[in-house]
Symmetry: C2
Subunit: 569 residues, 2 copies
């Protein structure tokens, strides 16, 4: 008899598992249920639908050939039965049945299965504040919400919007609203930085600067208290610090995995709600698989259970489940946490742990940053690319890397190389120093920025200099009347002299002159160096140390990093 | 007493080793000699100087700040003594001296050393044909040659040029001459394809097509017999098949490592001329290091000694030697062979072995190819990206990957990820299926092309279908009157019908209709399927196999791959 496969959830993982299983085991009876009408859509594309870059909602539901993936498509093209508007209420593991209810008719039914797949996804975390049920208070996690937002923008009903939470979707929504619709956007984030968890505090400032440069207000360390409405529609957001008028509020405060159905059925579920699965993506019941935004997966770097709700993870896990449903032996060994986001002028991208996250996990972590051109400096077309490498002092092991660049794809190339290294081995700083990436002048520098950042880490681990971040350098500069530090700008003379003209404490001593002008630098004061990217200053650090200076620091990423943070002397 | 470091060779590795050593060991006495006047230049940038994209020769010799790296620069900024126009004649390892001669004055001198570095580079392979000493017969390996070529182009003296050898520099020179100067360029390559060794025969056709589309004549499997001249300057190239008139001939037939000095000194040198070094980049004499284009290094994939003369390798190895000169313990574990080249409309990039190379090395290798958009298909800005993954049937291990795309950086991102995996582990097809690369719609597809190519490899290794390359498919099509194959175009109806209108043997049966029209497909004939990229045809293959067909093949990369090769039905 044909094996009965039942899949609960039809956005990304569900359809992938269904189609893969059906390809390998054509005789299987595969049914997919979903409580909504729309299934199998590119959820990550919603911000681009809001912005208008994606013309129609159907484009997010269509194959590359424009065929909309509706139940009829799955039936005729894939041999998969889809029942939409059908909610799973409970699982009877002994009887191998799922009780479902049609969301419109209310009709209930028992569906039997031989193998069950939970692809129940995640729900947006909706802050429990007064007014969160007003109209135009949404999370950008369902096609219907994307439609509401775009219609409201098209109708000119939104002149001000507030994004609550500075995560990926919130920032992408901010770009869509501000850049394309001219909406005055404010982002309110409880944590002291945007993209907390994904980027260091230092790089979080670069994200904020990119947003504020585009006219977006960024309010970090600020909490939403309540929402106010007019005629049932939101009109203002009240935070602990201000009132922001808004005709649209988008919540982007993270996700909670939908693990209740699994928990009710007695399956192992982590305290935060993620369903526990093994490497074959099986739950604690071998007849039940789970994957995508509803599961807890192993973080390869920490070795601990973690969570990474991303459409790409769901797709890859879906294929694994499909293979295993058909009797195959595919496995998923865990995640390292690789991501990318395109903002206004800048893109940001990362893999593995940030320095703060690594320390919280118990690593003796340090991070180093560089700014360097992504291609040969003599090649005409190029961009300044910033990388921050996170390493473990004890082992010299690499724990993660994050970066920023106007050329998002050039950035992705460096991040993905380190991501692959983290997945396939336990790379050391030396491995990244020698990482053999594709080189020719239109593609990279002979000593590529990914090699350089590891070289700098090597120098820091070897104690060759004391690194400070651009933000730390500027903080020292701000407090120059308290700390007795001697500040040196090692850039070519003209750049440094322009600052020195305004602030005499800013000493323009180019690398070219450092040896000749050594006598100008007091031996009894700490020295803080900065240059354009950190490279020239490093040579100055060594010259100063050779001359007997013992307290010399170098600002990583130099003025390039500082200006990406929106800071100026 | 200060340690005496002597470095022979001043282009890439030499200066890097010198500066790194001097940074770590400021008291060292570091001398660098080179037989030419120009040192420390970006040799890989020469094609871009010829094209005019790089304005001046000095730009290739300068730091990012425009400071030319001449002997005075090394003396004042780096504390390194440079003696140019100084040729090393012999090494006396017992006395620890090097006999040198000034190339202009002829004066000879013994230089003593505590540690010696051989950075003697490589020489272009100059075919031993009559006329190879004529004027305007050059290899693009020295700044002086780049200057001659550019001046000749600027003066309008070159209307036809012949490139002998279809390697990287030759192709880059072809682009510079044809694209920027409107020169009529012909490429003559002895092997049956361009970029032999770097790309499969199949992808070699894509390179040829990119060149011919730009008006370049490509003559493969063709040998240069002699050169003819007029008044001492080249005027024509005579091959075994034709006469090509030419005012400029560029040899790009590979490199021979300059190992003679080492061999004469009794150091271990491989038969092909590469100096043998260990992981610390030491030669068989522990006081002598060597690196860059003159050494033999381990290929990590084959485990055998190999050769990879690339500026990026030289830079990274230079840093390792610098560290070890200063008493450090840096090591170089080998290479996988990662490269990139930008041609006319297309860029090509690769890592590891090609399928032909892998078979020659004794692997039971197979390769699979896909064409897929590099970003979410609904995202407006995107490119078709082709990848060919080379795998070992026996172990399921990945041996290499090569690709093509109009967006070279998007291609680099995929190649570098696999390159890193090859360096840090022994990745399997499953590892690449699950490779966690950065995803968001402006960066990648949820199931990225690098995952897809591994998924296809998985299906091929599992025997789920018989792959044929686009070139093989078109060959079968050409011979359709001999082979009894039934050809199906599974693209949406309109595309296939346009071809069918001209050739009735081309059956337009879109995936949508395959089940309904199964009766049209004869059970007793082999079936060859093609679609746009290979994806729809795969679903058709499975449908046909379910219906009892046993001889069904799928054209990998579909019509996208076929048209990249310049083939049409």
């Amino acid at each position: 008899m044909a094996e009965k496969i039942l899949i609960i959830g039809g956005v990304a993982l569900g359809p992938k598992a269904a189609c893969r299983c059906k390809r390998l085991m054509p005789e299987a009876d595969v049914t997919l249920i979903d409580e909504n009408s729309n299934i199998s859509y590119g959820g990550c594309g919603m911000p681009y639908y809001v912005s208008g870059e994606v013309q129609s909602i159907d484009a997010l539901r269509a194959t590359p050939y424009g065929r909309v993936r509706d139940p009829e498509f799955f039936a005729s093209m894939k041999g998969v039965t889809v029942r939409s508007q059908t909610r799973a209420l409970s699982i009877d593991r002994a009887a191998k049945t799922v009780l479902v209810r049609h969301t419109v008719t209310g009709e209930e039914e028992q569906l039997s299965y031989d193998k069950l797949v939970l692809a129940t996804g995640a729900s947006p975390r909706m802050p429990q504040v007064e007014g969160n049920d007003l109209d135009n208070v949404l999370s950008l996690t369902r096609l219907e919400a994307a439609e509401v937002i775009r219609r409201a923008c098209e109708a000119g009903k939104v002149s001000e919007a507030v994004i609550v939470g500075g995560g990926f979707i919130g920032l992408e929504a901010a770009v869509a609203l501000a850049d394309m619709w001219g909406v005055k956007v404010s982002i309110v984030e409880m944590m002291p930085q945007l993209l907390p968890g994904a980027l260091s505090a230092s790089m979080g400032r670069m994200v904020s600067h990119d947003c504020t440069q585009a006219g977006v207000n960024v309010y970090t360390s600020e909490k939403v208290i309540r929402l106010e409405g007019r005629d049932g529609t939101v009109s203002a957001v009240i935070t602990d610090k201000r009132k922001l008028s808004a005709q649209l509020v988008i919540f982007s405060a993270g996700f909670i995995p939908n693990g209740q159905l699994a928990r009710d059925a007695g399956l192992d579920v982590a305290p935060f709600g993620g369903i526990v699965v093994d490497e074959s993506m099986r739950t604690s019941d071998p007849n039940i698989f789970a994957g995508g935004d509803c599961v807890c997966i192993k973080n390869i770097i920490t070795g601990k259970p973690g969570y990474l709700p991303l459409g790409s993870m769901a797709n890859r896990q879906g294929r694994i489940i499909g293979t295993n449903l058909a009797g195959g032996r595919a496995s998923f060994s865990g995640y390292v946490g690789t991501w990318a986001v395109k903002l206004f002028k800048m893109s940001f991208c990362g893999t593995g742990l940030t320095v703060e996250r690594a320390r919280a996990e118990g690593f003796d972590a340090v991070s180093v940053a560089v700014e360097q051109l992504d291609r040969a400096h003599f090649y005409p077309d190029k961009s300044m690319l910033g990388l921050e490498l996170v390493v473990d002092r004890t082992s010299g092991g690499v724990l993660g890397m994050q970066g920023s660049c106007t050329d998002g794809i050039a950035l992705k190339a460096r991040i993905d190389a380190v991501a692959a290294a983290l997945q396939c081995g336990k790379p050391t700083v030396e491995d990244i120093s020698n990482l053999e990436v594709a080189y020719a002048p239109p593609f990279a520098a002979a000593m590529d920025v990914v090699n350089t950042v590891a070289n700098v880490a090597d120098n820091v681990l070897a104690g060759r200099f004391t690194p400070v971040s651009g933000a730390e350098f500027m903080e020292l500069w701000e407090k120059r009347h308290e700390n007795n530090i001697f500040f040196i700008d090692a850039r070519p003379a003209r750049a440094g002299q322009a600052v020195q003209a305004e602030y005499p404490e800013w000493h323009a001593i180019p690398l070219e002159d450092i040896r000749n002008r050594m006598h100008e630098i007091p031996q009894d004061r700490p020295v803080a160096l900065i240059c354009n990217t950190g490279l020239r200053a490093y040579d100055c650090v060594l010259a100063l140390q050779n001359a007997g200076h013992t307290h010399v620091s170098n600002s990583l990423g130099g003025m390039q990093a500082v200006s990406k943070m929106g800071l100026t002397p």
